[in-house]
């Protein structure tokens, strides 16, 4: 390439560059739809203050919990999950029930036949010579180990919640001797040769 040729080429190049510059400087009209979208976005950004980064993150998390989404799970997994829930619920219910049973909310003293609903009942028996006294009845499966009375100066006492209805009961002294409640207003014949005490709990 000679210097003369080089000069002529430069001039030709300048003309091309100038055309390009002119073309780039010419304003381009945006499409109306794009302009409207951009304007709307800018307006909303101007009206609503930008949330703090922490709040935005919280909202995003909250939205994740509230947005419905499809869960893909095999029936076997569903059954396992449901079983787990049921077992957990039953364990919690049993524990709460045990705690509630252990609380004597409103002790009514001196009676075995409360007439108001939701009462706990105090059972007492004077048995100074006894070493162990149990309360048995249809409310505890007639199980002498279920409800033991506490001794204080020969008077044995226990306070338990009893469900509403008519109940038959009695005491077992020293694990073998059956005795009906001497203070009970009523007794009923059992099928086993002894009489049961009867009480009514309102409900």
């Amino acid at each position: 390439m000679t210097s003369h040729d080089s000069h002529g080429n430069d001039e030709a190049l300048d003309a091309v560059v100038q055309d390009a510059v002119l073309a780039l400087r010419t304003p381009v009209a945006p499409r109306p739809a794009a302009r409207a979208a951009l304007t709307s976005a800018l307006r909303s950004a101007a009206v609503a203050p930008a949330p703090a980064p922490g709040r935005a993150e919280q909202r995003s998390r909250a939205r994740w919990f509230t947005t419905p989404r499809a869960v893909r799970m095999s029936p076997l997994t569903m059954l396992a999950a449901a079983s787990l829930l049921v077992v957990s619920a039953s364990v919690i219910t049993a524990r709460v029930g045990r705690r509630a049973a252990g609380k004597s909310v409103a002790v009514q003293t001196g009676t075995r036949t409360p007439e108001r609903p939701g009462q706990v009942v105090r059972f007492t028996l004077a048995a100074p010579a006894a070493h162990r006294v149990s309360l048995v009845g249809d409310f505890n499966g007639w199980d002498p180990a279920a409800t033991r009375l506490e001794n204080k100066d020969g008077t044995w006492t226990v306070v338990i919640p009893v469900t509403p209805g008519r109940h038959q009961y009695g005491f077992v002294i020293d694990g073998s001797q059956w005795i009906a409640d001497p203070a009970a207003a009523q007794s009923a014949d059992s099928d086993f040769g002894t009489r049961n005490s009867v009480m009514y709990v309102g409900g």
Binding site: V71, G141, D191, F192
Partner: protein
């Protein structure tokens, strides 16, 4: 979304099954606890009675409770089985008299009333007189009055009159307590019940 719906439905069904199964599970564990306390033949016979009750839609809890009571009182197994069989029979009679819609509490109260000496027709009459409320409490009161020595027809008339007057459960209990007080005060059971019955009729008249 469909999977979630299926999951929810599954969960609801499990919860319902659990609610239904819990008492049955407790009963079966109570029954199983008697296995070591009864000879094998007696245990089998008791299990058959419990199964029979459950198959007939009758409450099995009272049967198990009766067996537990017998064992506590060291009754002989045949005596326990006789008592349990008798209770099952009364539960059946109670259901026949009260209808298929009777609740376990009503059936048990009906069985108690029958054991006390009430007639099946008196149970049916009480059910007919008290259609909008349960009859468990009236039946308990009926059984109680008869057990206290009130003649059965007098007791049944008093209870039916109260049922016909749409008396509440509390009113039935008040009747029972009133008669109990009268008897404790020296009145004869028949006179006490008769007086309360006449008072009931008097209250009904305008």
């Amino acid at each position: 979304m469909q999977s979630v719906r299926v999951f929810r439905r599954c969960l609801c069904r499990f919860a319902a099954l659990w609610a239904l199964a819990a008492p049955l599970q407790a009963q079966s564990s109570d029954l199983a606890a008697l296995r070591d306390r009864l000879d094998p033949a007696s245990y089998r016979a008791l299990t058959a009675l419990v199964d029979s009750a459950q198959a007939a839609g009758l409450p099995a809890g009272p049967l198990i409770s009766k067996a537990q009571e017998g064992l506590l009182k060291r009754a002989a197994p045949p005596t326990i089985l006789t008592a349990t069989r008798g209770l099952l029979s009364r539960l059946r009679q109670s259901r026949d008299a009260l209808g298929n819609g009777a609740t376990p509490a009503e059936l048990e109260a009906g069985a108690s009333a029958l054991r006390a000496g009430a007639g099946a027709s008196q149970l049916s009459a009480l059910r007919a007189a008290r259609t909008t409320q349960g009859v468990a409490v009236p039946l308990v009161v009926l059984a109680d009055l008869i057990a206290r020595g009130v003649p059965r027809d007098t007791a049944a008339r008093a209870v039916q009159a109260m049922a016909a007057a749409n008396a509440t459960d509390a009113a039935f209990n008040a009747l029972r307590l009133g008669i109990e007080r009268d008897i404790t005060g020296g009145m004869s059971p028949a006179a006490a019940a008769g007086m309360r019955y006449r008072a009931l009729l008097g209250e009904k008249q305008p």
